[in-house]
């Protein structure tokens, strides 16, 4: 197969050194991942709950490896509401069929939170076998069969905006839903509103590399070590934005900017939440390295579990 693992490694160089990936993956998915390296692609089912599709759109911006490689060479995306050709009941039934066929051996990617109020009525994702399927129904059916769940974006990882104060839908994160339902499938949180495409692809890649380097069992053992206490992989979420910010010398010199358009001076005075935020935006930057929030305006702490309530007002200093 044509997947260039060197590209993957290049992308992760410097952030992954000395780390691996571990028990968070069910052994059978590791076989699937190993299979990837040998030519077969692990099936991925991608569910959208209460979200905005921004995580999917962000993933389309993956450049290294290119999204084309991800779709055609790395994974077999058997269900994705925004990308797939199929639609309607047969598409939903196909999704459930794949989950049974590859029980314990497929990835479940979840974008958006899970609204549980009113029996899940606030998010109907389709019909199957002549029955309306809510996001709650789909999660109950698919999550226990998945090898691992990627909770993509702050909505899936922590609830996000649909779960913010004032919400009436009972929206909750994947992890909270699992606790409520007693589902033990491992979850990897990849927060961000949206997550950087490198964070999504990189997490998968780091896993591939660990297994390749250490073998299945030992590689698995490395995985869990990567997660912080919020369930985020530390290669991407291990560093504080403020502590690494190019404006830090300005902060230390007490040189603060006065308006959002001023380019010199620390931006905490106009509301920057960098000190609250754990992510590598400061060095990775966005959209192929063009810009990032602090350079442009302020960080609003979108990778944090308490986003948005704990990070607002966005334009008032901490």
């Amino acid at each position: 197969m044509s997947l260039s693992r060197r590209d993957f490694v290049k992308m992760c160089t410097g952030t992954v050194a000395g780390m691996g990936i571990s028990q968070m993956f069910h052994p059978s998915v590791c076989e699937a991942i190993s299979g990837t390296l040998n030519g077969s692609r692990p099936p991925v089912l991608w569910l959208q709950g209460s979200g905005c599709t921004g995580c999917s759109v962000s993933l389309l911006n993956a450049v290294n490896p290119h999204i084309k490689q991800v779709l055609l060479d790395v994974i077999s995306l058997e269900f994705h509401p925004t990308v797939m050709a199929w639609e309607g009941e047969p598409a939903m039934e196909h999704m459930f069929k794949i989950a049974d066929e590859y029980k314990g051996g497929f990835f479940l990617a979840v974008e958006g939170s899970i609204p549980v109020a009113e029996d899940g009525k606030f998010c109907v994702i389709g019909e199957a076998h002549h029955k309306e399927i809510t996001m709650v129904d789909a999660m109950k059916e698919l999550a226990p069969k998945a090898a691992a769940v990627l909770a993509l974006g702050t909505c899936a990882a922590y609830g996000g905006i649909p779960a913010a104060e004032g919400s009436e839908t009972g929206a909750m994160s994947v992890k909270a839903f699992f606790e409520q339902e007693g589902i033990s499938t491992p979850v990897v949180n990849i927060p961000g509103c949206p997550p950087h495409p490198d964070w999504i692809v990189g997490t998968v890649v780091v896993a591939l590399e660990a297994i390749k380097t250490h073998g299945l069992a030992a590689g698995l053992g490395e995985v869990v070590k990567l997660l912080d206490d919020q369930g985020r992989p530390t290669p991407f979420f291990g560093e504080n934005i403020h502590d690494n910010c190019p404006y830090l010398p300005d902060f230390e010199a007490d040189k603060m900017c006065e308006t959002l358009s001023q380019k010199d001076g620390c931006r905490m005075s106009v509301g920057c939440k960098g000190p609250n935020a754990m992510a590598d935006c400061f060095k990775r930057k966005w959209n192929n390295g063009i810009n990032w929030c602090v350079q442009n305006a302020v960080c609003i702490g979108c990778v944090e579990p308490d986003f948005p309530d704990g990070q607002s007002p966005f334009y008032e200093s901490l």
């Binding site: 099936p43 209460s50 905005c52 599709t53 921004g54 759109v57 389309l60 911006n61 999204i67 055609l72 077999s76 995306l77 269900f79 994705h80 509401p81 925004t82 990308v83 797939m84 050709a85 199929w86 639609e87 309607g88 009941e89 047969p90 039934e93 196909h94 009113e118 009525k121 606030f122 998010c123 109907v124 019909e127 309306e132 905006i161 649909p162 104060e165 004032g166 919400s167 009436e168 839908t169 509103c193 949206p194 959002l260 358009s261 380019k263 966005w286 959209n287 063009i290 810009n291 990032w292 929030c293 442009n296 305006a297 302020v298 609003i300 979108c302 948005p308 607002s312 007002p313 966005f314």
Partner: protein, 492 residues
């Protein structure tokens, strides 16, 4: 396995009910139910399956936070929601945006228009016409998909070229996102659109970087996107004859060309009953009889709008409210904007229309009402709008002043209200903001999806997409290809 939820028998003269749930390759959760008789759709219901409640979540927050929160309504068009929000805030706070701020906002929104239209055609709609590779996510698909190569075996090379363009378009839309990020910080969800203007003062370097990327996008639009839409269109002449719907449309005006906001790249206006009307925002109301919202809130002007969700309301079938202009169900989007503005058509378009349709067309309305308000007409409108905006983006790049202020610090008043009118790539968008005690007291969003994908109103009148589905051919109820084609032509 049946290819769709069927209740009723197939065949001539018989009635069949088809449900497509989910309608894929759109943003959000949408279900379409149609009744087919004699091979055509005779009734349709469109149901929005998701409610998040942004309006209630926004209440009590700092008004300036709204532009960040509302961007998360849509990951495809966050810049449009941010634009509507900052305009509403400017109005409510009495802020006068600088000329450079206005132009910078145009450059941010403009880049995402290019991204969104290209994404729509290639990555959302094209699989309805072009045969992709035989692997997931391009298969499974409808058995009788009525693709380009099914219609004309001689088009294998064009089909292959379109598949290559699918991949190339992924890169081009990434480049568009880079252009948004130049002045907007990042995409999706740009930081740079803020109350009082834009947070990034363009530098000479940044303008040049934007321009260099724009040239690549322009080349793709001129050489690939625009020609391929006409090539595909010429093979589906029948789809220029269906999907006209109410023949009514509304646009709010987008890309302001002066600081007084009286001149736009695409002007505001309303069209119904075969006539043009001046836009009067006091005539916009929202009905909820068939929506899962409390009946006490129906028929309200958006500035008095309330969001009282009622998920088990008897007789309702959607979380989408039904906006009406003077009681008329108006569609929004590129077709609405192009019909109202009636700009010149591209030379490529003029040539193709002459060659394939024998049509002497100089301006958009020369297509005629039947062809313009059609399934394929909506794709043409989107492609022609993309072409039309190229020269405007170039003019903004010349007008924007390096180093000149783009931002005026807003003061939050104790009370105030304002509406932001703009156009998302997919259609008319307004945000209404009311401030009390310096906090958000009421926030109402009337988005393009609400205009296009709404259910019946209080009078029982179908929403625009529902109406446009009437008459759509479904020769094979196992493969209702045209139903989804019609829905996706709107970019829902």
């Amino acid at each position: 396995m049946s290819s769709c939820a069927r209740k009723g028998a197939a065949g001539h003269g018989k009635t069949a009910h088809i449900a497509i749930d989910p309608v894929t390759r759109i943003e959000g959760h949408l279900k379409a139910e149609v009744t087919v008789e004699g091979g055509k759709v005779v009734d349709a219901k469109l149901s929005g399956g998701m409610y998040r409640g942004f309006e209630t979540i926004l209440r009590g927050r700092d008004p300036r936070d709204s532009s960040q929160i509302v961007q998360r309504i849509c990951g495809v068009c966050p810049t449009a929601h941010a634009t509507a929000s900052v305009m509403a805030q400017d109005a409510a706070m009495g802020t006068k945006v600088t000329t450079n701020g206005r132009i910078t906002r145009n450059l941010i929104l403009g880049a995402n228009y290019l991204q969104s239209h290209i994404l729509h055609f290639y990555h959302l709609a094209a699989q309805d016409f072009v045969q992709g590779p035989d692997s997931a996510p391009f298969v499974p698909r409808y058995k009788n998909s009525d693709l380009l190569t099914d219609r004309n075996k001689g088009l294998a090379a064009i089909n292959a070229a379109a598949v290559d363009q699918y991949v190339e378009a992924l890169d081009v839309r990434q480049i568009c996102h880079e252009m948004v990020a130049m002045f907007g910080g990042k995409m999706p969800h740009a930081q740079g659109l803020v109350a009082g203007g834009a947070s990034e003062i363009p530098t000479k370097d940044r303008i040049l970087e934007y321009a260099a990327r724009f040239d690549k996008v322009k080349e793709f639009v001129l050489n690939k996107y625009l020609p391929v839409v006409y090539t595909v269109g010429s093979q589906y002449k029948d789809l220029f004859a269906v999907g006209q719907g109410h023949r009514a449309c509304i646009a709010y005006g987008v890309f302001p060309l002066n600081d007084e906001m009286t001149k736009f790249m695409m002007k505001p206006g309303v069209y119904y009953g075969g006539k043009d009307h001046e836009l009067d925002p006091s005539k916009i109301h929202e009905d909820v009889k068939y929506s899962w919202f409390d009946d006490s809130t129906t028929g309200l002007h958006y500035s008095k709008g309330q969001t009282k969700v009622s998920p088990h309301k008897e007789g309702a079938y959607s979380f989408v409210k039904a906006p009406r202009y003077n009681g008329v169900a108006c569609e929004v989007g590129p077709l609405a904007r192009m019909w109202i503005e009636n700009p010149p058509l591209s030379p490529i378009g003029q040539k193709a229309l002459k060659e394939h349709f024998g049509l002497d067309a100089k301006n958009f309305r020369d297509l005629g009402e039947d062809a313009a308000f059609s399934l394929m007409g909506r794709h043409v409108a989107r492609a022609e709008e993309t072409w039309y905006m190229l020269s405007f983006v170039e003019s903004w790049l010349k007008e924007v002043k390096p180093g000149e202020e783009t931002y005026v610090k807003p003061e939050i008043p104790a009370s105030g209200e304002g509406t932001g009118f703009t156009e998302a790539p997919r259609g008319a968008l307004l945000h209404f903001l009311k401030i009390e005690d310096s906090k958000i007291d009421n926030y109402q969003v009337v988005s393009a999806t609400l205009w296009n994908c709404n259910p019946r109103d209080d009078k029982g009148q179908r929403g625009p997409v529902e109406e446009a589905l009437i008459g759509i051919p479904v020769p094979d109820i196992e493969n209702p290809v045209n139903v989804a084609r019609l829905i996706r032509a709107f970019d829902p």
